[in-house]
Symmetry: C2
Subunit: 217 residues, 2 copies
């Protein structure tokens, strides 16, 4: 059955790989599964046809026959469950890898999202300059703990897993802030993720959408 995902017709980041379809492309590349991409405009994302696939009006979605999924965590998990390469076979190691998937999305990403929201939506507010360091420190609190846990390891719990895929993806959103570079082992961890052939293919594919002359096919 054909896998079809949705992506931004024009990504707000202009192709830096920060839109969430990159996470799904990366997961599919890791397990060597082909996929098709349907591009969606900002207007179409809020219309009933797309809301029927994604109740929160976002991308990506994942369609495979009758199955329709949203949420990058759930889609990556679905892919990881069906194809070898993203979750360990041992039951306990698998449960720990799933723990890191949730940790990436529910513990590490929220303060990073708050920082992104401040920069995107509150840069014109009178409190912006004074508040930003507070928000950045909340990010640092999590990064410091993550850095201590990772130590000198290549990946977060043994072999590369879906937990690493999501954690690297979440941390990538921080690069432009400069905060990631304050934690050299985390910066190296992210670079290790970006160096994976599957990530490179995913990145190139999303970039091609955003550098195409006509925005939609």
């Amino acid at each position: 059955m054909t896998i079809t995902i949705t992506a931004f017709e024009q990504s707000p980041d202009g192709g830096k790989g920060l839109a969430r379809d990159t996470r799904i492309r990366w997961a599919l590349e890791e397990v060597s599964q082909p996929y098709e991409v349907r591009l969606v405009s900002f207007r179409a994302m809020k219309e009933p046809a797309h809301l029927a696939l994604h109740p929160f009006g976002q991308i990506p979605t994942y369609q495979e026959g009758d199955l329709v999924l949203f949420e990058t965590g759930a889609i990556v998990f679905h892919i990881a469950q069906r194809h070898a390469g993203l979750l360990p076979a041992d039951a306990n190691a698998r449960a720990r890898a799933i723990t890191w998937m949730f940790a990436a999305l529910n513990t590490v990403e929220p303060p990073i999202l708050e920082l992104a929201t401040a920069r995107l939506l509150e840069a014109d507010k009178p409190w912006y300059q004074e508040r930003l360091p507070l928000v950045a420190d909340r990010v640092r609190c999590r990064l410091k703990q993550l850095s201590a846990h990772l130590g000198g390891a290549d990946w977060i719990d043994g072999a590369f897993s879906a937990g690493d895929l999501l954690m690297v993806s979440v941390l990538l959103r921080l690069r432009s802030s400069g905060i990631l570079d304050e934690y050299p082992n985390l910066a190296a961890y992210v670079a290790r993720g970006e160096a994976r052939p599957a990530y490179k293919r995913a990145f190139t594919a999303q970039l091609a959408v955003n550098t195409a002359k006509s925005p939609t096919g």
Copy 2:
């Protein structure tokens, strides 16, 4: 094997059920699994012994023989996978229920967390009164979409699932803000969750910890 979870020695909410151990207690009650609770002080949460279980120095943790997990999403999923009652048997329905687990934690909870953070950590800041409505509106954006999706249904995708358990738990954090009551079907949905015998047992158990005269056993 005995299941042991950790909880706050003294919960910041004084027993309103908002500490995250309640989510785990609820899941275990839904599948009728006994568990033990080890209480942890704020100081102990930041010490090496606890950080070895939970790298981000929080509660709850979950221990069962050699297995150590953290992250409520991962723990609820682990319980749901091993015992009937929290995930549908049909593969597609199961994938959708997992999608709602991630939606609760990665789409609905982040703005609710941002609102809680503002109220907890920025109430003394000069921008607090002006900024709060902006943050509340970000919560409303998600609630409006969730409310439209739920419509008149009892649960979010057919039978009660781990997705509902986490979504109700996340929405409960909003009650004191009054925002939840702006969406009557969501308020009724949360009340439906609270009315479940398993939730009531979980709530009573966490309350008992917080109303005990001496805070630790």
